[in-house]
């Protein structure tokens, strides 16, 4: 197991290096000079040169082949990409070009918002999707089955930004039950401990803050949970149907075991593997930030942050944010692979 883990971790390395390279090159290839973008179009040459110097933008991108001709080794390796890698190793993601504050600082504020939304959405998606899938499989071809499968197909086909808008229309504009965006109302304060507002408000016993945060997170959670919920329900159903045809299920029925026992003890346990895979992959996707949901509900997560930075040409944020997102993504895929060993005793890694 340990050897397998190490091998998997090493196999992820080339992908991650590729990711850093792609992220780096991409931002540099986007048309427009970041120094000019920072200073505005009427900046003097002198100021642009000073900013380029300050952010290392005057160095060559990959390697300085002209310096090498003169035998200047230090200058040869002193490139933007290698500097970037060097800073990465020290967890230094640089400063935001527009706001002049460290990227990591904003990251620590922004990421918990995404985590909170993603985990809550996933919780709801699993709590609804798995039971719906099980019941559909157990009562195959019943009305309940048809309704839930058509419902899940509609869920998969739902443009979630539109669903979010419909929620705002119904609950915020017409009924006025819920606020249309943000994490907390103005005037409500929650002491920051983990920056997960729901957790923090409970820890500090701040009931008012908890209710307010819950009201704010309700609509984005439902919008974000829709697609994973539908996917999980479909996957649970098809996996359960597969397992229910197995011989040992017939044996269990023949022994006279109760339906519930067969369903949960014998079938569900064996049907869970593909479901867990889907849950893991979907959590990875949600954790990576939901640009659209966050935009509609003005949710201060990383998806919207990176999106704004791309439009504003704020390279350090784009690089730092995208890298974090990619690492989370890769990590969740790895976790899913590793979880197989625990869920399926027939799988051995050596």
């Amino acid at each position: 197991m340990t050897r397998y883990l190490i091998r998997r971790l090493i196999s992820v390395l080339p992908t991650l290096i590729g990711v850093t390279f792609v992220i780096f090159m991409f931002q540099r290839l986007i048309p427009g000079d970041p120094a000019v973008a920072m200073l505005g179009e009427h900046a003097t040459e002198e100021n642009v040169a000073r900013i380029r110097e300050q952010f290392g933008l005057n160095h060559p991108l990959l390697l300085d082949r002209d310096a090498l001709k003169e035998g200047d080794w230090a200058a040869f390796f002193d490139s933007q990409y290698l500097r970037y890698l060097g800073r990465l190793i020290r967890f230094d993601l640089g400063n935001s070009i527009h706001r002049r504050i460290p990227v990591t600082e904003t990251l620590f504020l922004r990421f918990p918002a995404t985590v909170e939304l993603a985990l809550l959405s996933m919780l709801i998606a699993v709590m609804v999707g798995v039971p719906v899938g099980i019941t559909s499989a157990a009562r195959r071809n019943s009305v309940l089955d048809s309704v839930s499968m058509i419902g899940s197909l509609i869920g998969v086909s739902m443009p979630i930004f539109w669903l979010g808008l419909m929620e705002i229309m119904l609950f915020a504009v017409f009924l006025q039950w819920l606020p249309s965006g943000g994490r907390l109302s103005t005037g409500v304060e929650v002491k920051a401990i983990t920056n997960l507002i729901l957790v923090d408000s409970l820890l500090t016993g701040n009931i008012e803050g908890f209710v307010d945060a819950l009201k704010h997170i309700a609509m984005p959670t439902i919008a974000l949970a829709t697609i994973p919920m539908a996917i999980i329900a479909r996957m649970t159903r098809s996996s359960m149907l597969d397992v229910l045809q197995e011989d040992y299920i017939r044996t269990a029925h023949a022994k006279g075991l109760a339906e519930q026992l067969v369903l949960f003890r014998h079938a569900l346990k064996n049907a869970l593997l593909p479901v867990v895979t889907i849950i893991g992959l979907q959590t990875g996707i949600l954790m990576a930030g939901a640009v659209l949901t966050e935009t509609i509900f003005s949710w201060p997560g990383i998806g919207k942050w990176v999106y704004d930075a791309i439009l504003g040409r704020d390279y350090p944020i784009v690089q730092g944010g995208t890298l974090l997102i990619a690492i989370i993504f890769v990590a969740f895929n790895l976790l899913v692979d590793l979880s197989y060993a625990y869920l399926d005793p027939r799988i051995h890694y050596d």
Binding site: L16, M166, I285
Partner: protein, 409 residues
């Protein structure tokens, strides 16, 4: 003794049965399923109405503007206040939303089709190659091609440093030499040493023309390339390289990658097609590879190999026809998700350039007016997106059941 025919005893000989092709069978299964029929109906309605509107119902978005009709609620018949009927109401510029939804379909569906075309052609081809050569030994000509390609690609760095692009040709040549003499001292470290020396000399000597320092760096890089070329690299290497590249694309969440690509290329419908197409490449590559791998285990492939058929013929006569079913299903579902992504890009203002009608962009234009109660400007384009995506998903589901009842993707 009287002769007994199979019909008399109620037996039908399989050879006597009417011949039906796989596709005809699939078609019959499909039209007997309610969901597939519904999917076909929805897709047909959207396809016909948008094509009809595009060719026969003239609409010029540039001149469509009437402030007197700004944000009017849907009315089914002309009233005293408004002298024309607006089934879906009007938007912030007084434009008829029904008209724009129907015309927007042309753009939204077009993005879907072109994007899927890009992902399918590039991803499908890469996956096909990866899967095929992972389980098929390379012929000697393919070995030469692969090694020259590796030599050329890996020598790019040293060629760039020395600014001498003929190095690429030199090391591609070294690659083909390594492929031709692949038995020479095979498996011995002397072979690695020999080829890395050759690589070092080729790169280093040519870089001497520039400067001794450059020559040193190029010699080291050349030695590494030479060492790689000396290894018995085959289809496995090709396959894992392709799949690693796909992993890199997959490490970015789809929307973010598409947004980044559009930011790079600039907004516009065509750029959106490219962005969504690129994001979809790994999906098709992975699917094609895994299906090809299972097809390659079949006896008919072994038979084709043993009668001496060439690789190209095996690939296109035996492999491609047998992977079509899952690819067709994925393409249909892919159309659904491409339409969704196109709408998302449009919503973020990165798709169609206004005033061109497109469902996502129409939503993005109007959602600010939701708070003032103009629900119709948001509801109808969204319903169009959802229904068209649902149509393709239903069709994909039906196709999957019809083409391969055991298949689940």
């Amino acid at each position: 003794m009287a002769e007994i025919t199979p019909e008399e005893i109620g037996l039908t000989d399989f050879a006597l049965r009417e011949h039906r092709s796989l596709w005809y069978d699939a078609w019959r299964r499909m039209i007997s399923s309610n969901t597939a029929r519904l999917g076909m109906f929805i897709v047909a309605v959207f396809a016909l109405s948008t094509v009809y509107a595009h060719y026969f119902w003239t609409y010029d978005p540039k001149t469509d503007l009437d402030y007197s009709l700004k944000l009017k609620a849907p009315n089914l018949a002309p009233t005293e206040e408004i002298d024309s009927a607006h089934l879906f109401g009007t938007d912030k510029l007084g434009r008829d939303i029904f008209r724009r939804v129907v015309h927007g379909g042309w753009n939204s569906l077009r993005v879907g089709f072109v994007a899927v075309g890009i992902s399918l052609s590039i991803g499908g081809l890469l996956g096909l190659l990866a899967g095929f050569f992972e389980s098929m030994p390379l012929s000697s000509r393919e070995h030469i091609l692969l090694h020259s390609l590796i030599g050329a690609i890996f020598s790019l760095l040293s060629a760039w440093i020395a600014n001498q692009y003929f190095q690429v040709v030199l090391l591609a040549g070294l690659g083909s030499v390594a492929a031709v003499y692949n038995r020479f001292m095979a498996g011995k470290s002397a072979r690695v040493l020999l080829f890395s020396l050759a690589g070092a000399v080729l790169s280093g000597a040519s870089a001497l023309l520039v400067s001794p320092y450059v020559s040193l760096v190029c010699a080291v890089l050349g030695a590494i390339v030479g060492a790689i070329l000396s290894l018995p690299l085959g289809g496995q290497f090709l396959s894992s390289t392709i799949m690693r590249a796909m992993d890199i694309i997959l490490s970015f969440p789809g929307y973010l990658l598409a947004i980044a690509i559009v930011a790079f290329l600039g907004p516009g419908l065509e750029k959106g097609m490219i962005a969504i197409g690129v994001v979809g490449i790994p999906v098709y590559a992975r699917l094609a590879r895994s299906v090809v791998l299972s097809v390659m285990q079949k006896e008919y492939i072994l038979a084709a190999v043993s009668v001496g058929e060439g690789h190209g013929r095996i690939l296109f006569r035996h492999v491609v026809p047998n992977i079509l079913s899952p690819i067709i299903v994925q393409t249909t579902m892919g159309l659904a998700s491409a339409i969704l992504s196109a709408a998302a890009l449009g919503f973020l203002g990165l798709g169609a350039i206004p005033p061109e009608p497109e469902w996502g962009a129409m939503l993005g234009d109007s959602y600010r007016y939701l708070t003032s109660g103009a629900w119709w400007a948001v509801v109808f384009p969204g319903v169009a997106i959802m229904l068209s995506v649902l149509g393709f998903n239903l069709l994909g589901d039906g196709l999957r059941d019809a083409l391969d009842p055991k298949l689940r993707i």
